[in-house]
Amino acid sequence: MVEEVRDKARELLSAGTVECVIGYERATDGITARPLFAYSPEEADRFILDRTCVHNLARYLLDRKGKPTAVVVKPCDSRTINLLVHENQIERDKVFAIGVTCPGVVEAHWGETTEGLQSRCGSCPLEVPVVYDHLITVPGERQPRTGFPELEKLEAMSPQERLEFWQQQFQRCIRCYACRQVCPGCYCPICFVDQLDPMWVGIKIAPPENQVWHLIRAFHLAGRCIECGECQRVCPVNIPLMLLNQKLTAEVEGMFDFRPGLDAETLPPFATFRKEELEAER
């Protein structure tokens, strides 16, 4: 199955269909993965594909606008393509999606991986990428859906308990903005935290500013988060960001029966106005 990835990449590069194929290769610890940008068929020999391939590579399409690029996408990652095409950030015909089915991925940080899957995999509704130009079927029994116990725990808390929980989490935020940088939904040319005039947040790395940062980001992603889990993975101080994003995802789904990026046609609720909404019952 990894040979299929390599073969496809070699084919696309040799034919000049794309300038670059973005896939995975082994990281320097010998056990986890990292992105590989292959520009020649020979470089495609280095591609790997296994449960350590956790990165959402489709995010890199934002760096390669207008340049024909192939990208290996798991089902969650593939939602990125629909999202970014919807939001006019990338051109569909410049992207060749090498879709791979997914039995789930493990927790992977440099030097260590877990036996069990990431918790978000337990609530993932997808097995097959939602958009692809070529599909590779990965063998492997898909683990049964376990729901999202952490979210249930959060929802069982009172508002005061939730406030204290999140204040506790955000206290150790160092504002590295890795969550923002890795997120395919965060692509504003000037992020609100970097604005000077008005200075919405400022540079103090302190609890009040940390809270504003995370809460506003969560709201900017509400209805747009495609649940790739990258924000939580990259956080150096283990803030459970997916909990926040998935809570809002659940809220939007409850209100609008909508989950972003699942298809190429459905318009996102917050970017759409329908006259019927004026008359809708509250």
Partner: protein, 340 residues
Amino acid sequence: MSRFLSLDGLLAWLDGLLKEGTVVVAPTLVEGVSLYQPVPAAAEIDLDGGATVLSPKEWLFPQSHTLFTVERRDGAAELKEGTFDGRAVLFGLHPCDALGVHLMDVPFLAEPADASYRERRERTALVGLSCTRCRPECFCTSMGTAPDDPAHLDVMLTPVEGGYAVAAASEKGEALLASAVLEEKAVPLPEPPVPDRLPTEDLPRVFRALFGHAYWGRVADRCIHCNICSYVCPTCYCFDVRDYSRGNTAERVQSWESCQAPGFARIAGGYEPRPSKAAKMRQRFAHKFLYFPEAFDGPLSCTGCGRCVRSCPVNIDIREIIGDLQRIGVSSVGSGEKQD
């Protein structure tokens, strides 16, 4: 014969310092994450943990702090400086982090010194902890230190059976140990572990020669330009200064900033001196391996702690970069003036 401090003695000593009002900053677990924090009691210290996620630099060079405020009232204006009055002990520094403090002294204490850094630095004692094991990402011996190196510390502790072998490395350290109950005891010191070595010979010259090489673009492809590497690093020291305004009071704040942050070097009007991903990512390594040694006539701005290796979400590995630069080598480039 050397001096020995039992584990109980260590805890008692530190609790004693806490009681007299000294702030003890040590590795401790915060929601499972190992960080240097002021501890309320010695029992909170994570003595056996590996490296903290963040370096101890944030104690001497805070993530953000107030430089001064200017308050305007009745036509007059008053300026108040931010100050740090207490005394502190930075406890549990591995030699890589002790070297990190020394390397941070270099720019901040160079005249004219950064006044708030100098104040904190003078009021802080450094108590080190020798390493009993190396992690796979460690490479301190390639950066001029070693797992048992007492340099730049006031006190050095080496873990031994039942406690620690103690050595004072400065007058400040000797004074600090006055309240510790030490025993004269023959304590065999363990063999220090041996981390991997990297080819750092002549690195600034090699770097300069390969400055314009296409290699940087290839590595930068996967860089997401977050601030993680700069923030976890014990020697990255770039900072931002910005004003806040509340009513009649203006507050000037100094905070960490990374060369990877958007707008780091952007001039008003929009001109961006390092617009490409390659130039931006290269800046951090250039600072560490070329600009810092050139500007300060000597050491590389890296301690081999490996935190950036462990924390980079896309595995940009400083050890790999050093190896690659040497492998590509000076001989492969003409005059070294090749532009990318």
